[in-house]
Each structure stands twice: as structure tokens, then as C-alpha cells.
């Protein structure tokens, strides 16, 4: 991490500065929606960063990653519905359940490769989606409104929008930092090796399955955390956040920003939501522009925005 004055580092620095100043801006112009919008961006960026860990660094293209958003969210929603409001109970439990489910899905899915892996994660994602749809006690597909946010015994007031925003931002930065430590550690090297050439990894003595599974579980847990935040942000959770198209959105965010790049998912999330906002402002038929744009990114900018900024082509 050399703080060289490259275009890419300047953009990242400006982006972070902008994220830091969002609440100030919202205060000055008296518009809380900006804060809401950016809280959402930051939360989704956490989810995208977690997907990037398995997809960008580990080569595991999960088409069911949005499921963990729902699992984390539903744990908060269900516990709140049952009267358990303490964040000290809700949050660890939500993360634990996300991790457990990721473990089971990973255990079964990681036996497959390539498109088979994409499709089996999709299948598990859809199964969890339909579990959500059949939760009659918790609103089924109508979703569940969360009337009170997680309570941290006065240590942290999540109902204060500015506090909540900075808390999410802190967690995003922590996630990115964690990713950075992780991918450069021995564990990270093993994961990247498995992505690059799994056969060779076995030949030099790596039992890669356990490392890939661990990575899968870590990513699921972090995405579960994003789900916890999302539920607290929207005061609402429904199966819709787990639909396969949502998993597709997450993939698009990661690739748009730049796979296997630390800040790529953040850049991608901002760009994705900004594009949606700008294009839908231009025409009702905005997807007729957005669709070919995706195609163009695949064809001409394989490293995503981050790759364009860095001016190098990634594999």
C-alpha cells in the first residue's frame, strides 16, 4: 500500500473524503435523503466487498450472495418481532446464523466448479428466498417491518441518522481493511492460489477445500452483517432482498468497480447506484442504455472502473 499519487489513488481518496462529508452536506442543505441514500450505498458496498473476497480473490462466483443480506436482516427482524431488541444478542446471533448457513452451502457447493458452482449457489439462494416467502408468522413475502432498531444499551443510538451513517461507514472501512489483511496473509495467498490454479495447489500440498470453505464462510458472515445494517437502516426486511436478481446486482457492482481490487466494490456500488439514478432521470427506458453498457464494460474494460483508473488490464 504505497500512497503513490496515481489517478486511482486520488479518486479513492476523494471518494472517501466525500463519504466522510455526506452528513455535513445533508445538514447544510437540510436534505436527509442524501444521508439515507449514502447509508444504503455504504451498506451495499459492505456486501459487495464481501462478495469480492470470494469472487475476486477466491474465484468463487456466488450467484446467491444476496441470501445472506436476507439472513442477517431476518435475524434482526425476527428477534425484534419476538421482543428481543438488544443488539448484543441480535447481532452476534445474526452473524452466527449467516456463518452457519454459509458453511452448509459452501460445504455442498464447493464440490462443484465453474458454471456448476454458479448454478448451485443460485439454487441455494432461491431455496432461502422461498423459505423467506413461507415465513407466515413474519409477514411472508409482505416482509416484516422493524419498529425498533437494535438497542446497544445507550452506547450507540442507531436511530440517529448521522450516528448510524458513520457507524456503517466505519464498518465498511473495517471490512476493506480486513479484506486487505486477509488477502495478503498466508490464508489470502492460499485462496488466491486456489483461484489461479487449484490443481497446482493440490500438487504442491494445499488442501484447498478447507481454505476456500473458510473464505466462503467469512464472506457470508460479512454479508450477513450488511444484512443486519440494511434491516436497521430500512426498518424493514422482506424476501425481495434475497431474489436472484439481487445477487446479480451485487455481481454487477463488483465487476463494474473492479474484481480483486480492494476499493473496486465500493467504487462499483457508488457507480451502479449513481448510474441507475442518472439514467432513470434521462429516460424511463433507462435499461436500454444500461444493458449495452454492461456489455461494453465486459468487452472493453475488463478490470472495471478500478482497472480503467489504474490503466492496467487484469486477468
Amino acid at each position: 500500500m504505497m500512497p503513490a499519487l496515481s489517478l486511482r489513488n486520488i479518486v479513492v481518496a476523494l471518494l472517501l473524503l466525500m463519504l466522510l462529508l455526506v452528513p455535513v452536506y445533508a445538514l447544510v442543505v437540510g436534505n436527509n435523503f442524501v444521508l439515507s441514500l449514502f447509508t444504503r450505498i455504504v451498506i451495499l458496498a459492505i456486501a459487495a466487498t464481501s462478495l469480492n473476497l470470494i469472487m475476486g480473490y477466491g474465484g468463487m462466483v456466488s450467484f446467491g450472495h444476496a441470501a445472506y443480506l436476507g439472513i442477517g436482516g431476518y435475524m434482526v427482524g425476527i428477534l425484534a418481532y419476538e421482543g428481543i431488541l438488544s443488539g448484543f444478542v441480535q447481532w452476534p446471533l445474526a452473524l452466527l446464523v449467516s456463518a452457519l448457513i454459509a458453511f452448509v452451502i459452501g460445504l455442498l457447493s464447493l464440490r462443484t466448479r465453474g458454471v456448476y458452482f454458479i448454478m448451485i449457489t443460485l439454487a441455494f439462494g432461491q431455496m432461502i428466498y422461498y423459505v423467506g416467502v413461507s415465513l407466515n408468522r413474519y409477514g411472508a413475502d409482505d416482509g416484516l417491518t422493524i419498529y425498533r432498531r437494535s438497542n446497544f444499551a445507550g452506547l450507540l443510538n442507531l436511530s440517529n441518522k448521522t450516528v448510524f451513517y458513520y457507524f456503517c461507514l466505519l464498518l465498511l472501512l473495517a471490512t476493506i481493511y480486513l479484506t486487505w489483511r486477509l488477502v495478503n496473509s498466508r490464508f489470502g495467498m492460499a485462496i488466491r492460489g486456489a483461484r489461479s490454479n487449484d490443481r497446482r495447489m493440490h500438487a504442491i500440498g494445499f488442501p484447498t477445500f478447507r481454505y476456500r470453505l473458510t473464505c466462503f464462510v467469512i464472506a457470508g458472515t460479512i454479508c450477513g452483517l450488511a444484512g443486519v445494517l440494511l434491516a436497521n437502516h430500512t426498518d424493514f426486511i422482506s424476501p425481495a432482498v434475497m431474489h436472484w436478481t439481487r445477487s446479480g446486482d451485487l455481481i454487477v457492482m463488483v465487476v463494474l468497480g473492479g474484481m480483486g481490487s480492494l476499493f473496486g466494490p465500493l467504487i462499483g456500488t457508488v457507480a451502479f447506484l449513481a448510474l441507475e439514478e442518472v439514467l432513470s432521470g434521462i429516460t424511463e427506458y433507462w435499461q436500454i442504455i444500461f444493458g449495452p453498457m454492461l456489455l461494453a464494460i465486459v468487452l472493453f474494460a475488463r478490470g472495471g472502473i478500478d482497472g480503467l483508473l489504474a490503466g492496467i488490464r487484469r486477468g
Partner: protein, 255 residues
């Protein structure tokens, strides 16, 4: 004869109706350089696949240092000291040379559930990797991304990675494939050096190299070992000459 480090007994593998290995028996003595030769389609690749654990044999057993490893998964064979280089270069193309070799060191430096310390600054990984690179004469190539290397250099790195796992046995699958004469000659010299420290099972097409290096040679034809012996014995073995007539005029032929 010294104790066999690797012993293969009655190894048989069929793919559908095609017999790839039929009752293969093989002894690689500790310290020797044992070469396997055979015409195309003789089942060399299938044999090495079974030795490394990527292909499960239908029947037969494989012993390494006295231990039955027939059912052992690939990564554990590496752990007990079997290292392999690939015929078709199989490296981590998007990483640097040193990263590649360091990974091989890491594989044998305990488990990799270490999440925090940057692996690239661990001397315990980098120093042995650098040593392995130096051993194959690529000490100055450490920071080059593998994809940018030449074919010959890829072959060097293949061997460096195998060495970095601190093996007792090197399984070298056609290390000279696709090399020019000059590069081949350098590699022969390298192997001659390595031979002093490692037991080597060499599968190779380059007859000149094989006969120059090998202590013993086994000849594989249609999945069977038809002969095993010193280069001198193999050279005059009528069965071997017979088997090779279609492919080369004589086993001793230059080139």
C-alpha cells in the same frame, strides 16, 4: 539394491474399454534417477496421475517410503515428500515468480489459517523460495509476473516449485518438452546436480537426456512395463527395440 522409496504394484486403470495401465510394477530406489520412457499413448500421463493421486487406480497399490499411499489425496502425498512438475506448464500465471515458489514453501510450513500477517513479508516463506529459485538459476526473476516469462523459464519455475516443497522424490513430467537444444542442455546439467540430493522419477521424451541421466530406465508400452534396467541393458533389449521401431529407428538414435 537400496530400499525402494517408491514402489508400485500391479497398478491397473481402465477408461471404458481402453486400458491405460495394466499391472504396472515399478521400484524407485532411494537416491536413484529412474526414467520412464515409452511411445505416445503408452500411458505415461495416466501413470503419473495415479502416482500423484489425481487419478484413482482400479486396482493395485502404491507405496511411498513403506507407507501405502494408494488412497491418499494429492495434497497429502505432497506433504510426505512427493513433488511433481507438470508436463504442460501449470503455474499461477497472475502472480510473480517469487509468489509462486513462496506458495509452495507455504504449503509445507504448517497450516495456512493465518489471517493477519502479510505473507509477502514473512522471511520464513520468502527466503526458502528465493533459495529454490537460485537453485534453478532464476534468482533474478523473482519479481516478474509469471505470465510474462518465456516457455523455458516456465519449466525452470516448475522445478523450483517442486524443490520448494522440500521433497524426497521429484516426479518430473517431461520437463524438457518444447525446449530448444540450449535450454535442454542447461536443464540436463541442472538435473545432474539435483540427482545428487533427490530421488527422481523422470518421464521424458528426450532420449539423449534420459540415457545421459538415468540410473535405471523402465519402458512403458500399452500400459505395461515391458522392461526395466540400466541404460545399457535397455539399449539392447530386443523387446524395447521392437516396441520403438515404429516410432524411432533405434533407441540410441540421436534426437
Amino acid at each position: 539394491m537400496a530400499d525402494a522409496l517408491l514402489r508400485v504394484a500391479e497398478l491397473t486403470k481402465r477408461f471404458g474399454g481402453v486400458i491405460a495401465s495394466e499391472g504396472v510394477a515399478l521400484d524407485v530406489a532411494d537416491g536413484e534417477l529412474h526414467a520412464i520412457i515409452g511411445p505416445n499413448g503408452a500411458g505415461k500421463t495416466t501413470l503419473i496421475g495415479q502416482l500423484t493421486g489425481e487419478i484413482a487406480p482400479d486396482s493395485g497399490r502404491i507405496y511411498f517410503a513403506g507407507q501405502d499411499i494408494t488412497a491418499l489425496p494429492t495434497h497429502q502425498r505432497s506433504a510426505i515428500g512427493m513433488a511433481r512438475s507438470f508436463q504442460i506448464t501449470s503455474l499461477f500465471l497472475d502472480m510473480t515468480v517469487l509468489d509462486n515458489v513462496a506458495l509452495a514453501v507455504q504449503a509445507h510450513a504448517g497450516h495456512s489459517f493465518r489471517f493477519w500477517t502479510p505473507a509477502r513479508s514473512e522471511r520464513a516463506l520468502r527466503a526458502p523460495a528465493q533459495a529454490a529459485l537460485a537453485r534453478v538459476g532464476a534468482a533474478d526473476r523473482g519479481n516478474v509476473v509469471v505470465a510474462d516469462l518465456s516457455h523455458g523459464e516456465h519449466r525452470q519455475i516448475e522445478i523450483a516449485m517442486a524443490l520448494a516443497t522440500r521433497p524426497r522424490l521429484l516426479l518430473l513430467d517431461e520437463p524438457m518438452a518444447g525446449m530448444g537444444p540450449e535450454e535442454s542442455a542447461r536443464l540436463v546439467n541442472l538435473l545432474r546436480e539435483l540427482k545428487k540430493e533427490y530421488t527422481i522419477l523422470l518421464i521424458e521424451h528426450d532420449m539423449e537426456a534420459v540415457f545421459a541421466l538415468a540410473d535405471r530406465i523402465s519402458v512403458l508400452v500399452y500400459g505395461r512395463v515391458i522392461a526395466t534396467g540400466t541404460p545399457a541393458a535397455i539399449r539392447v533389449n530386443p523387446e524395447v527395440i521392437q516396441a520403438y521401431l515404429g516410432e524411432q529407428q533405434a533407441v540410441t538414435g540421436h534426437g
